[in-house]
C-alpha cells in the first residue's frame, strides 16, 4: 500500500463493512441463481417425467411453469440486488465519502 489515500480508505471501518456486506450478498445471490438454473437443467436431464406432469387437469405442464419461473426469478433476483444496493450500499458509500471528506 504505497498510496496513503488508498491505505486510509482500505482501513476505514465503513469501507470494510460495505465491501464485506456487498461481496457476501453478491455471492449469495449468485449461488441462488446457479442453483435454480442448474436445478432446472438437472431436472430436464434426469427427470423429464416430472416436468411433463400436468398442473391440475390442465394442459399446462409443470416444466413450462418452472421454465417461466426461472426467467421471472432471474429478474426478481436482480431487482432484490438493485433494491439493496440503492438503499443500504449507496448509504454506506455516502457515509464513507463523508468520513473521507473530514
Amino acid at each position: 500500500m504505497s498510496d496513503p489515500v488508498t491505505a486510509r480508505i482500505a482501513q476505514n471501518p465503513r469501507f470494510k463493512e460495505l465491501v464485506h456486506e456487498r461481496t457476501r450478498f453478491g455471492w449469495i445471490l449468485t449461488g441462488a441463481m446457479l442453483a435454480v438454473y442448474f436445478g432446472f437443467i438437472g431436472l430436464i436431464a434426469f427427470d423429464k417425467a416430472l416436468l411433463a406432469t400436468k398442473v391440475g387437469s390442465a394442459t399446462t405442464s409443470l416444466g413450462l411453469i418452472l421454465g417461466v419461473a426461472v426467467i421471472v426469478f432471474a429478474f426478481i433476483l436482480t431487482g432484490i440486488y438493485v433494491q439493496r444496493a440503492n438503499g443500504r450500499f449507496d448509504a454506506l458509500t455516502a457515509e464513507l465519502n463523508r468520513d473521507l471528506a473530514r
Binding site: A10, I71, A74
Partner: protein, 551 residues
C-alpha cells in the same frame, strides 16, 4: 447469439440448407428503407457531437440507465433469437424454453459480480479494467485477441444469417444483404461511434419489442387472454401432441446440458460488445440499474417469443396457405412451412396483422441484424485502436485524435472483412459459430476479467497464459467436436465428444490463471499484488473513477 438458437432450430427442424429466394417483398423493403434513412439521420447528428475518444468509444459516458438497458437488450435480442427461438418452440414446444432461460440467467451474474466494478475501473474497453494493475502490453494482447476472436465468429454467423434472411424476407439476392449490412455498419460505426451505435440499437429494440408485443397480444386475444386455451389448441394441432409440453430430445446428455448452460451463462459476462455498454453510463448506480431493466426486457422478450411460437402452432399449422403443398394438397406441418420453421414469426405476422404487418416484422428482423453487427464492429474496432494500437504498438506515444482515426479505419476494415467472410461462408454450416463465440467469451474474456478484479493473487503471467489456454481450449474442442470435425472436415468420428466446451475449457482457464499466478515470483508479480489494494478500493467505491464527460 441468436444464431445459436437458429442452430438449434436448424438441428431440431428439417433441413433448411438451400433456401429458395422468395418473391420481392416491397412493403418490407420500403419500411426497412425508412429505418435506414432515420438511423442515418441519427448517425449524422451523432457524428456532429462526436469529438473526443470518450465520445467515440463510450458516447461521452452520458447515456442514461433506461436508454442503456434498451441498448443492452437490443444487443442481446438478435434476429435469430426472435426467429430461431419462436421456430424452435414451433417445432418442439417446451425445448425452446431451455434456450430462453439459458440466455437470460447470465444477466444476474453480470450484475452481482462485475457490472459496477467494471464501471468503476474502466474507461472504454474491458481490457482497461483487466490491465488496471497488470502489465498493459500483455493483458491488452490477450484481451484484444479474445475480443477479436469472439467478434469474428459472431460476425460471420450474423452476416450469413443476414444473407439468408434477406432472401426469405425481402426476396433479394444473398450478396445484396451482405453488402448492405456491411456498408451500413461501417457508416454507423465509423461516423457515429458509440452514440449512433447505441441509438440504432435502442430504436431497433423498441421496434422489436413493440412488434413482438403486438403479435403475442393478438395471439392471446384470439384465445381470450387465456394461455391454457392457447396451449390446448396447440396440443390438439401439433403432430407431437401433448409431448410439446414436456422436455423432448434437445437435452439428453446431462454433461452436454450443463456445458451449454455454462457457456451461455458465463459467455454473456464476457461478450466484449456487451461489456462496452457499461462504460457508456455515468456511474456504478446507472450501470446497476441498466442491468436490472435489461434483464426485465430480455426476459419479457423471451416470454413473448414463446407465446409467438405456440401461436404459430395453434394458428398456422392447420392453414395450408403457409405450407408448400404436396400431391393432393398434403403437407408436413413442420417440414413444409413456407421458408422453413425460422419463418414462423414472420408467417404469424401475416396471419394476425396482414401483409403490411408482415412487411414491418421483416424490416424489423433485418434492422435487428444490422444493429447487432454495428455493436460488434465497434467492439472490434476499439480492441484494435484502443488496446492494440494505442497501448501495445504505440505504447502510449499517440494522441486521442489519431487513436480515434485508427478506430474508424479499423471499423471500415472490419466491415470489408465481414462482407468477404459473409460471401465466403455462404454455403458453410455456421450454426456452431455463435456457440463458439459464447464459449470463447466464457473461457478467455470472463476468467481474465473476473480474476484480475476479484483475486489479489492474479499476476500478468497468470492472466496471459490462462487466457490463451482458455481460448485455445475452447476453439480446439469445438474444432474436434462433431460440428466441425465431422460435418465440415468430413472425418468419421468426433474426437471431442461434446458440442459445447465451456464445462471443460472455462475451469481450465481459471485453474491455469491460479496456478501460474501462484508460481509467479517475479518482482513484477509482487508489485502487481501490492497494487491490488488501490484497484480494490476504486472498484468497490468508484473513488477516483472518471465520471461522465470527465475524461
Amino acid at each position: 447469439m441468436a444464431a445459436l438458437a437458429v442452430s438449434a432450430a436448424f438441428a431440431a427442424g428439417p433441413d433448411l440448407g438451400p433456401i429458395a429466394q422468395q418473391a420481392t417483398n416491397w412493403p418490407a423493403i420500403g419500411m426497412f428503407g425508412f429505418f435506414v434513412i432515420f438511423t442515418l439521420g441519427i448517425t449524422y447528428k451523432a457524428a456532429m457531437g462526436t469529438k473526443s475518444a470518450s465520445d467515440f468509444y463510450a458516447a461521452g459516458g452520458g447515456i442514461s440507465a433506461g436508454t442503456n438497458s434498451l441498448a443492452i437488450a437490443g444487443d442481446y435480442m438478435s434476429a435469430a433469437s426472435f426467429l430461431g427461438i419462436s421456430g424452435l418452440v414451433y417445432t418442439s414446444g417446451f425445448d425452446g424454453l431451455i434456450y430462453s432461460t439459458g440466455f437470460l440467467v447470465g444477466w444476474p451474474i453480470v450484475l452481482f459480480l462485475i457490472a459496477e466494478r467494471l464501471r468503476n475501473l474502466g474507461k472504454f474497453t474491458f481490457a482497461d479494467v483487466a490491465s488496471f494493475r497488470l502489465d498493459q502490453t500483455s493483458v491488452r494482447i490477450i484481451s484484444a485477441t479474445g475480443t477479436l476472436v469472439v467478434v469474428a465468429f459472431y460476425l460471420i454467423a450474423q452476416m450469413v444469417g443476414a444473407g439468408k434472411l434477406i432472401q426469405l424476407l425481402f426476396g433479394l439476392p444473398y450478396l445484396y444483404a451482405v453488402i448492405i449490412v456491411g456498408v451500413l455498419m461501417i457508416v454507423y460505426v465509423a461516423f457515429g461511434g458509440m452514440k449512433a451505435t447505441t441509438w440504432v440499437q435502442v430504436i431497433k429494440a423498441c421496434l422489436l419489442l413493440g412488434g413482438a408485443t403486438f403479435m403475442a397480444g393478438a395471439v392471446l386475444f384470439k384465445y381470450g387472454f387465456n394461455p391454457e386455451a392457447l396451449f390446448s389448441a396447440a396440443v390438439a394441432t401439433h403432430p407431437k401432441g401433448d409431448a410439446i409440453m414436456a422436455p423432448g430430445g434437445l437435452v439428453n446428455n446431462p454433461i452436454e446440458a450443463i456445458s451449454l448452460g455454462m457457456g451461455l451463462m458465463f459467455g454473456t459476462a464476457g461478450l466484449p460488445h456487451i461489456l462496452m455498454r457499461f462504460f457508456t453510463v455515468s456511474d456504478a448506480q446507472a450501470a446497476r440499474k441498466s442491468v436490472f431493466y435489461a434483464t426485465g426486457l430480455i426476459g419479457y422478450f423471451y416470454i413473448l417469443t414463446f407465446i409467438i411460437g405456440f401461436g404459430g402452432i395453434a394458428l398456422l399449422m392447420s392453414d395450408p396457405v403457409y405450407f408448400k403443398l404436396g400431391p393432393a394438397g398434403a403437407f408436413d406441418k413442420i417440414k413444409d412451412m413456407v421458408g422453413g420453421t425460422n419463418m414462423v414469426a414472420v408467417n404469424l405476422a401475416n396471419a394476425v396483422g396482414g401483409p403490411y404487418f408482415l412487411g414491418f416484422i421483416s424490416a424489423v428482423a433485418f434492422a435487428t441484424i444490422l444493429a447487432v453487427v454495428a455493436g460488434l464492429t465497434l467492439a472490434g474496432a476499439s480492441a484494435v485502436s484502443h488496446d492494440l494500437y494505442a497501448s501495445v504498438i504505440a505504447r502510449g506515444r499517440t494522441n486521442e485524435a489519431s487513436e480515434v482515426r485508427l478506430s474508424k479505419i479499423s471499423a471500415v476494415v472490419i466491415g470489408i472483412v465481414a462482407i468477404y467472410l459473409g460471401y465466403v461462408f455462404e454455403n458453410q454450416n455456421v450454426a456452431f459459430m455463435v456457440g463458439l463465440a459464447f464459449s470463447v467469451a466464457a473461457s478467455c474474456n470472463f476468467p481474465v476479467l473476473t480474476m484480475s478484479i476479484l483475486w489479489r493473487g492474479t499476476t500478468t503471467w497468470g492472466a496471459l497464459i490462462g487466457g490463451f489456454v482458455g481460448l485455445f481450449a475452447a476453439v480446439g474442442m469445438v474444432v474436434l467436436s462433431k460440428a466441425v470435425w465431422v460435418t465440415t472436415f468430413g472425418n468419421p468420428v468426433a474426437i471431442f465428444p461434446y458440442d459445447n466446451p465451456a464445462l471443460f475449457s472455462m475451469p481450465l482457464a481459471f485453474l491455469t490463471i491460479y496456478v501460474v499466478s501462484k508460481l509467479d515470483n517475479t518482482a513484477r508479480a509482487k508489485r502487481e499484488r501490492a497494487l491490488f489494494d488501490a484497484q480494490f478500493v476504486r472498484s468497490e467505491t468508484g473513488i477516483g473513477a472518471s465520471g461522465a464527460h470527465a475524461h
